[in-house]
Amino acid sequence: MARPPGRIHVLQPGFQSTVQDLGRPGYGHLGISASGAADPLSLRIGNLLVGNPETAAAIEMTLTGGSFEFTGDVVVALAGSDFGVPLWESFEVKAGNVLACGPARTGARCYLCVRGGIDVPPVLGSRSTHLMAGLGGEALKAGAILPIGIPGAACPPPHFGPRLLHSTAPGRAIRVTAGPQSERFLPGFYQSAFLVSRHANRMGLRLEGPCVEHRERCGLLTEGAALGAIQVPPDGQPIILFVEHQTTGGYPKIANVIAADLHLLGQLRPRDEVRFELVTMERARTLLLRQEYYVCLSKNGTRKAHFS
């Protein structure tokens, strides 16, 4: 039995750092949204780079990275946005060394993945911090100590092609499918550019821009809300429901971000410009399958794969 590879001492947490895995599904009927990594694609890639299962927990850093000291030799990888440390590759950090991350150069979030994963006790089946629900701890503070799990068997490092990594880059139109109340709105939404407001967090991203006009002022009976739903309150300023979203809501929803683009939301920062592109359900499915295909291809080794 391998020895646990030590612990992580949080010297500086950065702007907002939390422990995240792929979330806590199964409690929506209690009003608990799944939470999980804001950019799950980057977390999965980071985990694969250090030989972890994709579901392992890592540290999610937001806008400004933290400083972390390791008590044992560990293999780490950073995935997501550039926080001034080598990205998309695994490397070893020796016991007693400090990994210091800076401010985000682009995007908003970066994952510090450690071989063995962050081994905080799971709450309701997940290690994900749900800040709004107060589940799985809180934002990391200086002085926090995080245990590292026992790594599984070593596996060959995956190779991630530029095509997949490029898909994590922010700056392109976010693709959506029509929302359940899309017919309640006047045209114009897809021609408009919005700015991410400073009220953007893991719960939701408020947008500022031209008023999204309701065709009629009729209320909506509170109904279930999905991750990535774009709801429009009477003031016409859309809100994108994010990983710690409310499970139900009473504002009409004009559109919903597709599964293949949800990770892009995690890389949006205040004052970023956002546009939306409407796609069909079939197209959304194709895009997701294509994304998963590239992840699997990378995971299983591109050298072995033969494709034209």
């Binding site: 929506g28 209690l30 799944a34 629900a133 999905a226 990535g228 139900t248 399958l289």
Partner: protein, 213 residues
């Protein structure tokens, strides 16, 4: 029943129209039945079930299921086993700093704040579902005369324990959350505790009464 794709990974199952005056006990029982059936059976690929007044949003893994498959699961017959409903009394401090919108509700209802409190306390409520935020109970049974429209722009933070009215609905915020409902009071009662099992004090079908503290 009406099925609509709400997103590429969720299906909205509606039992009635989506207008705010359609809060019925018939729909409540249909919602509760489908929710409990899915939550207890845990079919492969179903990630979350979000019940509401007259609809259930079923969130699924799009790599395992599609909208059609989820619809088949919802249509499969069988009822959830019956449960014994409980009654919970919630003490409320109405008005003041922790109930800043009580006067607005009274003005909208063309009555005094005291009358609003009397009507809010006088009713028998039933939990239609838990939603919005962890443990937040959506209650049916509020007198129509104190219904007040939501704020046009939601507050960024509503403190835990706030008792509020949104349209013809009333509820209690179990944790700090943004929200657009009118806050009429505050309760010290803990409605959600992640350490408890179950973490939510109330459940679908629970009966609730408010008591002025």
């Amino acid at each position: 029943m009406r099925y609509r794709a709400a997103s590429d990974r969720s299906l909205l199952v509606s039992f009635g129209p989506e207008t705010p005056d359609e809060i019925s006990s018939k729909n409540r029982l249909l919602v509760e039945n489908l929710t409990r059936k899915l939550v207890e059976a845990k079919p492969c690929g179903i990630l979350n079930v979000h019940p509401a007044y007259a609809s259930v949003l079923v969130v699924f893994d799009p790599l395992t299921l599609d909208h059609q498959g989820v619809q088949h699961l919802c249509e499969s017959t069988g009822d959830a086993p019956a449960t014994e409903p409980r009654t919970v009394v919630i003490p409320v401090h109405y008005g003041g700093e922790r109930g800043p919108d009580l006067a607005d509700v009274a003005r909208h209802a063309r009555m005094t704040s005291e009358e609003v409190v009397r009507l809010h306390c006088g009713a028998d409520y039933v939990v239609h579902f838990l939603g919005f935020s962890p443990g937040f109970p959506y209650l049916g049974g509020m007198p129509e005369s104190i219904a007040t429209p939501r704020l046009s722009s939601p507050r960024v933070r509503v403190p835990a324990g706030s008792v509020a009215i949104g349209g013809g609905q009333t509820g209690v915020y179990p944790s700090d959350a943004p929200g657009g409902w009118r806050i009429i009071g505050w309760t010290p009662m803990k409605l959600f505790d992640p350490e408890a099992d179950p973490p939510a004090l109330l459940t679908m079908g629970s009966h609730v009464r408010f008591e002025a503290a």
